[in-house]
Every structure is written in structure tokens, then in C-alpha cells.
Symmetry: C4
Subunit: 265 residues, 4 copies
């Protein structure tokens, strides 16, 4: 099922007092600034090749831990605030109004369910990650300080163990989403063999940052392998750089957001 996973560590979060426990009721209005950042995140991820016409990004609702925000089924480059829908953790939209939803929304819901610490999820189709997902003998590891969050190695989800040998490789159910979340464990990223990757972050900006730099790390690790035996970050360096570089995420987000037109009139 999973190469390199450290096991499942989360639990179903208790809804906070004052929130809608009834699955059918939408949560209180989400923060317009958060929705705006989610829209930007879609565009930033597209600009960096983390997603193309496929792939998506979500955030946990800031007022309801059992809800998340995700665009309707649309190429990320075109997402606007009007395209953002609210979902429960089972992947049911609260008010889709006939709009089509992403088939793989279960990736997001199940990770939010398993990981109370996760506030944003990116489902990446970054090409550079696909070879690492396909070659289990070469675990993706942090080769530079920008990717310390990769820790001691990245788990790889082999869907054959959860969906059998003839699936379409898509996370098309809550069960498959739960299997993926279990493989993710307490890591920040899980590679998905023959598919792409999923990145989890404690904030939207962190998830986007990690999605971009995981892809670059993969390119550099491949190049290093062609040169010879590489020195990777050890566990302490990985942890230390993850903290230090984590303190600089805003500088990157600010640049990417401006490039994506955030400040245009």
C-alpha cells in the first residue's frame, strides 16, 4: 500500500462549539480574504507547473473544522471566487447548484479528517514528481535547504493495494482517500504512483510553498544522481531547515501573488 509511510497519526476532529454539526447546513460565511488567497493559490500553482488543467487545492474552512473549500471542476488557471464551493469531509458539496465537482475531492476530505493539523491540501500533477512515484527504489529526499520539510523521505502510495490491480488510479471514494491519508501519515507529502502527489500544509501558503519546492527538489535530486552519490540533508538538518525556511514563506508567497496579478487594479 505504502512505501516509506510512518503510519496514520490523526483522528477525527471534534467540531468546535457553535459550528454546524448537521452535514446539511453550510458553515458560517467564510473569510473573504481566505477565499481570495485560495483563488490566488490556484493561479500560483498553475504558474509553477504544479497543476496544469488538472490538479487542485483546498483549504479547511476557518469557521468549521468539518468543512473545506475547493473550486468546482474547472482548470485551476480559471478559478475565481465564484467557483469556490464548500464541502463536508465526505466530499459532499453543500451548495453546488448543479455545478460539477472534482472527482478526487475525497483526497482533501480524508486528509482533513485524518490530520487535524492540516489546513490546506494541494493535489499536484507536477511532472517532475511522477518519475519518483514510479521508481520506489529512489526515495525522494531533501537535497537542499528549501525542501527540508521532505524529512527523511517521502511515502509513496501504491493504489493497487487499496483498489486492486486494475483501477483508473483515481481517488474516487472516501475509502481510497482514507488509504491515501493513511499513507501520508504525519508527512507533508505523499507521492502517488502513476499519478502525481498530494501535499499537506498547516496553512495555505505553506502548502503552496511546499508544492513548488518539492517539484524543484525532485529535479535537483535527479540531476545529482546523474553526477554521482549525493549528500542529502540528515534528519536534524531537514527539521532545522524546515523551520528556518518556513519563516520565509511569506517572501515567496508575496512574489508569486504579485506575479499572479494580485495587486492589479
Amino acid at each position: 500500500m505504502c512505501t516509506g509511510s510512518e503510519g496514520h497519526t490523526g483522528a477525527v476532529p471534534e467540531p468546535a462549539a457553535g459550528q454546524a454539526a448537521d452535514r446539511g447546513e453550510p458553515a458560517p460565511a467564510d473569510d473573504a480574504a481566505l477565499v481570495k488567497d485560495l483563488v490566488l493559490a490556484n493561479h500560483i500553482l498553475f504558474n509553477h507547473g504544479v497543476v496544469d488543467a488538472f490538479g487542485h487545492v483546498s483549504i479547511r474552512h476557518d469557521k468549521a473544522v468539518d468543512r473545506f473549500l475547493l473550486a468546482r471542476n474547472l482548470a485551476p488557471a480559471f478559478v475565481t471566487a465564484e467557483d469556490i464551493l464548500e464541502f463536508d469531509l465526505d466530499g459532499n458539496p453543500l451548495a453546488a447548484g448543479g455545478r460539477k465537482v472534482y472527482l478526487e475531492r475525497f483526497i482533501h476530505g480524508e486528509i482533513y479528517r485524518a490530520r487535524p493539523d492540516v489546513m490546506a491540501v494541494v493535489h499536484s500533477h507536477a511532472p517532475a514528481l511522477v518519475p519518483f512515484g514510479a521508481v520506489p527504489s529512489e526515495p525522494l529526499k531533501p537535497i537542499w535547504h528549501m525542501s527540508g520539510f521532505l524529512g527523511e523521505g517521502v511515502p509513496v502510495f501504491e493504489i493497487r493495494d487499496a483498489a486492486g490491480p486494475g483501477s483508473d488510479l483515481l481517488i474516487r471514494s472516501g475509502d481510497l482517500g482514507a488509504a491515501l491519508a493513511a499513507c501520508l501519515g504525519s508527512s507533508s507529502i505523499v507521492l502517488m504512483r502513476g499519478h502525481g502527489a498530494t501535499i499537506a500544509g498547516s496553512s495555505l501558503k505553506q502548502a503552496v510553498f511546499r508544492a513548488v519546492y518539492t517539484q524543484i527538489n525532485a529535479e535537483l535530486q535527479l540531476q545529482a544522481k546523474l553526477l554521482g552519490a549525493a549528500t542529502f540533508l540528515n534528519a536534524r538538518e531537514a527539521a532545522a531547515t524546515s523551520i528556518s525556511v518556513g519563516g520565509q514563506i511569506d517572501r515567496a508567497w508575496d512574489m508569486w501573488a504579485r506575479q499572479a496579478g494580485r495587486d492589479n487594479p
Copy 2:
């Protein structure tokens, strides 16, 4: 002649009742929306590096199975509706009006003749495919779910077997086109050693989608090989992903079409 082909499966289609059986007569007016999409396809393929100044894309005429539409001899980036010509399956233009035609129009005609199911053909010069066409020991296979349509491997057309050891590698006759179509067999793509590739689709959008994602698959397969032994999609996964991803083609087409200026005033 052909590495990895599954054999010839098509037959000459019977012209439908009410169509022009006389080779000299143009078919009823084609659908303006189809011509518009064919023009867009030219630009999309150029934007994605599937074609540069060379390469082309055609569609079978929607009102005459023994006709196809293809631009005059022109770089795809500049094709407009006025450049679209109608051809019979032997590659004769119906009303060229002195305009030059693509030397390799036989690629299109012979595939439409051999494959009644094919409605669009892309002749690709995508650089990433050339190494795979040149190294027969490394068959192009689907490494991710976006390329399941590559099936269990892609045939490679070696023109020396059809045209002798000293040709210019071009499909410059119906005979060579038929040889290529035979090598394509029932596959969706055939690599052409020392040349490029040809992609066949049941619709224009599918052919374009497949042309783009075959090129990406080639890049990823090369990278994976540099890492080690890769896990490819098995036959069932290839078939299942081909269907599922096939249902999402419109999302990609819509984005690519907008990027190509479809919605500009």
C-alpha cells in the same frame, strides 16, 4: 517494418448514403464550428510544442467519411479558416486553387481509410518523442494516468522496410501512408523512427489531448529510467485510466483553447 504493432484492423469505409461518391465533387459544406476547432487545434499543438513550423492536424469531414480537412502547406501557428482545404483519402485536394499542400497528407488519408473509428489525426514533430522512435529497445509505455491510452506499448514505424534504406523518411505516397497505417494498427499512436509520431483520435479534442500527453509521458519515462526500474501502468490500468481521463478532455481543451485566444474579441 513495425515494432510493437498489433496488426491492421481497419477496412475501407462505405460512403454513407447521400454523400458524394465521385472523387471530384466536394462534400457538402463542412460545419463551421468544426473548422474553427481545427484552426484552434493547429494553434494549441503549436503552443505545446507538438508541432513547430512543421507537423499538421486534420479531421475527417463530418458529412463525408471519404473526405478530410487539412490546412494548406503553412506553419500551423498561422493557420486560419481560409487555409483549410478538403482532401479525398488519396490525398487529392478538392479545390486547392493553386495553394500548396502538405507533402505528407498521405498520413491522414491512409489512416482515415484504414481506421473507420478515427476522426482526427495529428502528425507530430514533438522533440521528446524522437529519442523513443530512435531507440527500439525502449518502448514508450504509459507511466502515469494521463497517458493510459498508450496501452501496452506504442508501435514504431521503421520506414526502411517500406521505402528502402535510402529514403528521405517522408510519407510521400499513399503506399507509404498505408504502411504507416498498418503499423499504427488499432493503437492511438505510432512513433516514426527518425521523424516524429502520428496520433489518431476518435475526436479532434481527443487527438490533440493525446498528442500533448504522449509528449509529456515520453519526458517522464526518460527521467524515470534515469532513476531506476519504473512501475508502468498495467494493461487494465491503462484501459481504465484511458476511459476516466478521457472523460476530462474537455477541461484541458477549454483551457488550451482560451490560451490560444479562442474567446478574444
Copy 3:
């Protein structure tokens, strides 16, 4: 001196009747259309990465075989008609007017001297060619039909044999230019170890076309090598494709010229 060269084949051309035999006199006014194309060639080569701030392109004067046209010392991207200077085959400018000239103009003069058939010369700094110039055990050969003009292999000029073991690798004299031309022999391209390459064409459009496609061939040959043993074009295929593809050069030139702004008001 030279790996893979076929020897020197040219001779000093006799000036045509009616032309200025006196080195000091400028030739009759050059064709404005040719100068315009030479300016365009500079921009096209920059757009394709054949040159960056360094590298240059020249044409033999259309009215004086012992003269050639080359820009003053300037990044090719900025060359305009006013920057084009006339030189004799020894590399002396006829009317520099104090403007600085390219240090390596001797590349052009000596090739025009040695090769009466050559009408244009491109000195390329295309990165993809540098590895092939540096690794003599891997001769650059045509892997696809767009590069048949590479013939049976490309000579490599090792400047140590002409300039000793401690030069700055630049063709800074007529003697070094002559050594380079001798290595070029009757080929269309010579790689220059530790430097780049020089491409010779029977017309400007052909030289530019060859400069662009040689670079692409190098990229594809490297990728093919990573896959396994590649099938290259044999001598007859190389010759045949060179002729056929040569007949299509205008289609590429036209696109590149339009992209470079030729038709802008």
C-alpha cells in the same frame, strides 16, 4: 586539430569582373533586402538560443565575393540595419567609423575564402552543442530528418593543435580562422571544443535553419543515448532528407521572421 573532418576543399575565389579588387574600396551598395534579412537572422538566432549576448551571423556580399556583411560588436538581439558593416576576407572593416568589430570576424572571412559555395555563416554559442564539442567520443550525428545535413558526422575543431595548449579558445586571427575552415572542410557545421560551433550555408535562410536544427538534434541525441542504442540516419537518408527538408526551409523562416516582428508596422 580536427576530429572527423573530411579535409579542405575550397580555393580562393577569383573576384568577378567589375568588382572592387582593391581591398580598400567598398563594394557596390548591398541589397537592402539582404541587409534586412541579415538583421532578422540576428534576432531569429537570438530567439532560438543559438546566440545570446555572444555569437554572430554574416552573409557574403551579393555583389562582391570577396566581401561579407557582419554587424558591429553588439549583442545580436539589438542589431539594426545601421549596425551592419562590410568586411574583406581578411576581416578588415571597410568603413567601421570607429565602431568596434567582433573579435572573431576571422571565422567568417576564412570560411568564405575556403568555401566558394558558402553564402552565410553562423557562429553559434548554442549550449546544447557544447557537450558534444567537449566529448569527442560521441560524434554529433543526424537522429532525425530535420538534421540530415549533419551528414555522417560533424567535425570537431580542437584549437590546441592550432593555437597551442594555453589559448583563450577564440578565433582571433586569420590563421586560426583558416585552421577552423580546414576542419569544417565540406561539412555544413564544425563544433569548436570548449566554445560552440560554426554553421555554413549556401544561403542565409539555410544557415539559420541549420543552426537551429543542429541544436535540437544535439538535445535529442543526448536523450536517445540515455535510453539506449539509437538508430541514426544512414548516409543516404542523411543526403535525401537534407534535400527534402531543404525544400521546406522557407516555411520555417517565414514563421520565425514573423515571430521576430518582421511584419510589424
Copy 4:
């Protein structure tokens, strides 16, 4: 600590007569043209991928050898003249006015302290350099004439020897900056394992030029290795090309500056 270093060669420069020896006093007003070039350098380095949201460039103050100019903590792409701050060699800003400074400013100060000949420093995050920093068995060496300044090989700074086995890989103190400067020695560049590189130049334009071409050299050296055993520049060629190409730096700077909008109204 350092692979391939030639040892520490600098000394603390004596402040010139008439300059502010008191650390607390700002130096006389810097040259507005120099500040303008420093701003341009930030943008040029971003355009060439030497820096992204991270990385920085400084110049030694032209009127005070114990001061240097460096932007406040900001993505280089957005640096303007108002963002340039003055620092002493210990990394203390003279008039930060509450603005945040780069954590790794010690890289600059300590190199200026150790190397009286150095007038500009670039801290690069160029991806192509990271694999070489991570694989000590493959020293970065000049493969073409544009990178002769790489000399006989580039030192690699292994921070574990200076900061222990669990650091965050950042040069966050004067001691670490001094260790890096010692590893740089008299070279023009030092690779930083798991991090990037630092380039030192005798002028800003030279430092920028070297930062750009070091990155290209790394890409070409990797490609050459994939082809086979490469011929590198020997020591004399490296020295000779460094001088000759050094005389052409302005041509590159002028193009890059124009591309970065220097001449826009």
C-alpha cells in the same frame, strides 16, 4: 569544511583616509549610479534564475571599504533604490529604520572582509548548482570559454564542519560567514552543499556575469558527463579565457540591463 579550497588569502582592509571608522556612522552618500546598477543586478539575476524569491546581491560601498550595500529582506525581483541599505562588515545595518534585513547578510560582510579585491557578491540559489554542491566527487570545472573564471575547480563548503551536523544550513553569523569566506579562498565562486553558491567579483557586472555563466556551465557539464569523458579547459586556457571573456562583460550586461527595463521611460 571545504573541498577544493585554496586557502584563505585576504586580510582586513584598512579604512581609507577620510572614511568613517566609527561603525555607527553611515558612509558618505553612495553613488546613485551604483545604487541603480545594484537594483538592476537584482532584476537581472532574477530574470536568469540565479535567484528566485531568495538569494541576494551586494556591492562594496564605493566611498567606504568597510561598508556594503544590500537590499532589505525582499524578493530580488521587487528591489528598488529605496530598498537598498548600508551595512558594516559585521552585518549591522546603519539605518534600517525598522525594515527587515536578510538573515544571511554575513555572507557578504565576511567576504568583503577577507577579500579586499572583491567589490560585489552574489548569493545564488541557481538550481543547476545544487547538484554539484551535493556531489563532491564531481567538481565543477570550466567546460567552455564563457566560464574560464571557474579556474581549476570550484571549492565546496560543507557547513557541517563549521556549524555541526544539525544546522539549518544558513550562514546566520559572522563566524559562519568567515568559514565560508575561508573556503572561497581566492576563487571566484564557492558552492554551498545543500544550499546554493556564492560568487565574488571585482565589479558588480563581473559578479553578475559570473553568476549567470556558472549556472550555464553546470548544466553543460552535467550533459557532457552523460555523453562520456569530457575535455575541460586546462589551467592556462581557464586563465586566458577569463581575461578575454572578461573584456566582453559589458556586452552581456548591456543586453541584460535593457531586457530588465533599464531604458524604459
